[in-house]
Amino acid sequence: MTRYVAGRIAQALVVLWAAYTLTFAILYLLPSDPMQLQLAAAGVQEDSLTPDQVAAMKAEFGLDQSIWTQYWHHLGGALHGDFGISLTQRVPVTEMIGERIGPTLVLSASAAIVALVAGSALAYLATFVRWSLLRILFSRLPAVGASFPQFFVALFLIQFFSFQLGWFPATGSEGASSLVMPVITISVLASSVLAQVLIKSFDETLRQPYITTARAKGLSRSAVHLRHAFRNAALPAMTILGVIVGVTVTSSIVVETVFTREGVGRLAQEAVLSQDVPVVLAVVTIAASVFVLVNLIVDLIYPLLDPRISHTRGKVRAPAPAPALEGGTL
């Protein structure tokens, strides 16, 4: 068991390191000159500088060193929580992210919770309701929810609830009311993804022999659903918790842009566009850490919850990989 835990943790760390390195590689292979970006950020055209000035500026940002030196420097810093200085704003990246991570965490966490509740409820209804027409409706709803681009949902929520009804503010990050529409936008997609997986899992569980047995024993329909099917079906769904977190994090990019919210998602989009390498690296590292951490926790808890997984010979089998994603996520 200890070996299993240690192995999983080591694996998570390797994945994190690789994600960091891959992002670094992509950003450094970009066809632009980081020097030019620096100068543009300061509003200077390179042609107006003397070679001495160019050299001095390169040294200031460490751009005169080889890619390897820069890589090790960045990686070393990242391990200590120091992500360097933003190229475009010349402020420590950690400080920038610190200022913005609060609203994003609140948004993502709220959206994840709403998605969990709504997705589970929908899946439960879709398998439990007896009236077949309603059942079909519920079971097709997740597909509908996943068929609309998020920015489209966001824009029409704004149009209807802000401009027509005036219920919620269309922009900003102040107060709980500004959170409502962004959370709805994200959870429409996230709960659709979750519900699709859950419905499939329910359907499979309901076909299991022990359900039939339970029914035969005279247990009521709802009791069977709650006590047996739901519990057993929810287990595989746990493995997509990481995916749900991934969806909410990714969604924050589009959602924070449309709703003009202060947050890491918008920071990330802007940083990628202006090729602000340290900021992008930091955001990717943080996002990947969250994703890896959630998956790690799921992996570690899963064997404890699922009685079917044997602990024989001190070896524990990792759960099956998360079911392939269904619905519009990227």
Partner: protein, 298 residues
């Protein structure tokens, strides 16, 4: 009788391609009949066919020029003359949607192509060779999954520049992990089937087993996923176009059309809504088709 002959005989005893094909085509006919009986599936399939046909022969469905501007008839609401209304320059939105289809479809196909090739290769190699190779490849997939897809796509687009193809590549890379995992799971399943083991025992080469037995039998779920991911790709491409990375004007992908309309949301809602519904309906249809196929294969 030599050992090789025995081996050959055993191989022949395993379900041979012809037999398999015969069985499959019979199955297929049965399935088709079953499918046609489902009105939802029929509607979805018809809509997808319509979108494809109208993409390649837009003139069948519209006679208007998608690019010619006519400021005098700008911002007309939907009517018989202009099914989707007209945009700010007086161009017919319906014909712009239809003429925009090939671009989006092309991008979707490129994305799917990348995902299929890379995902299948990763999945097959991983599932087939198992062991260390499998562990390493699956960690690679984990790494791709750990970076938020849209961020990865954004980084790729900034590296390659704007336009339909870079967007398609970025989206394709984003859906590789899903394909890799599904393929691997299928290969792992098929690998342990008796006839595959028999073929291996009979001395057939790995390559032969792979091409003749494993791939054809793993194909089903992967194809289902491909249909589903076509929808995912369309939405992702639209999102990237929305963020401003799509085709250069005046050509317009669906995402660009939806995005262009957003500045007139309050006054001329149809500019965003109509192309948005057109796209959502397509994604929904693909989703439904994929789901129906999946249910059939059970």
């Amino acid at each position: 009788m030599t050992t090789t002959e025995v081996a050959e005989r055993i191989e022949v005893d395993a379900p041979v391609p012809e037999q398999e094909a015969g069985g499959r085509s019979a199955n297929l006919t049965a399935n088709l009949i079953q499918l046609v009986r489902k009105p939802g599936f029929l509607l979805a399939a018809l809509y997808v066919v319509f979108v494809l046909v109208s993409a390649f022969w837009p003139r069948l469905f519209t006679s208007r020029d998608p690019y010619g501007t006519d400021p005098k008839s700008a911002m007309l609401s939907p009517s018989i003359d202009h099914l989707f209304g007209t945009d700010v320059y007086g161009r017919d939105l319906w014909s712009r949607v239809l003429y925009g289809s090939p671009l989006t479809i092309k991008a979707t196909l490129i994305a799917l192509g990348i995902a299929l090739v890379a995902g299948l290769t990763l999945g097959v190699v991983s599932g087939f060779f198992a062991g260390v190779t499998d562990a390493i490849l699956m960690r690679v997939v984990d790494v791709l999954l750990a970076i938020p897809g849209l961020l990865l796509a954004l980084a790729i687009v900034t590296a390659l520049g704007y336009g339909t193809i870079p967007v398609a590549v970025a989206v394709g890379v984003g859906i590789v992990p899903g394909f890799a995992r599904t393929t691997r799971a299928e290969v792992l399943r098929v690998r342990t089937l008796p006839y595959v083991e028999a073929a291996r025992a009979g001395g057939a080469s790995w390559g032969r087993v792979l091409v003749r037995h494993i791939l054809p039998n793993s194909w089903g779920p992967v194809a289902v996923l491909a249909v589903l991911d076509a929808g995912v790709a369309i939405i992702a491409i639209a999102s990237l176009s929305f963020l401003g990375f799509g085709a250069a004007p005046p050509a317009a992908e669906w995402g660009t059309l939806i995005a262009d309309g957003r500045n007139y949301l309050v006054t001329s809602w149809w500019l965003s809504l109509m192309p948005g519904l057109f796209v959502a309906l397509l994604v929904l249809s693909l989703n439904h088709i994929s789901k129906t196929l999946q249910e059939l294969s059970r």
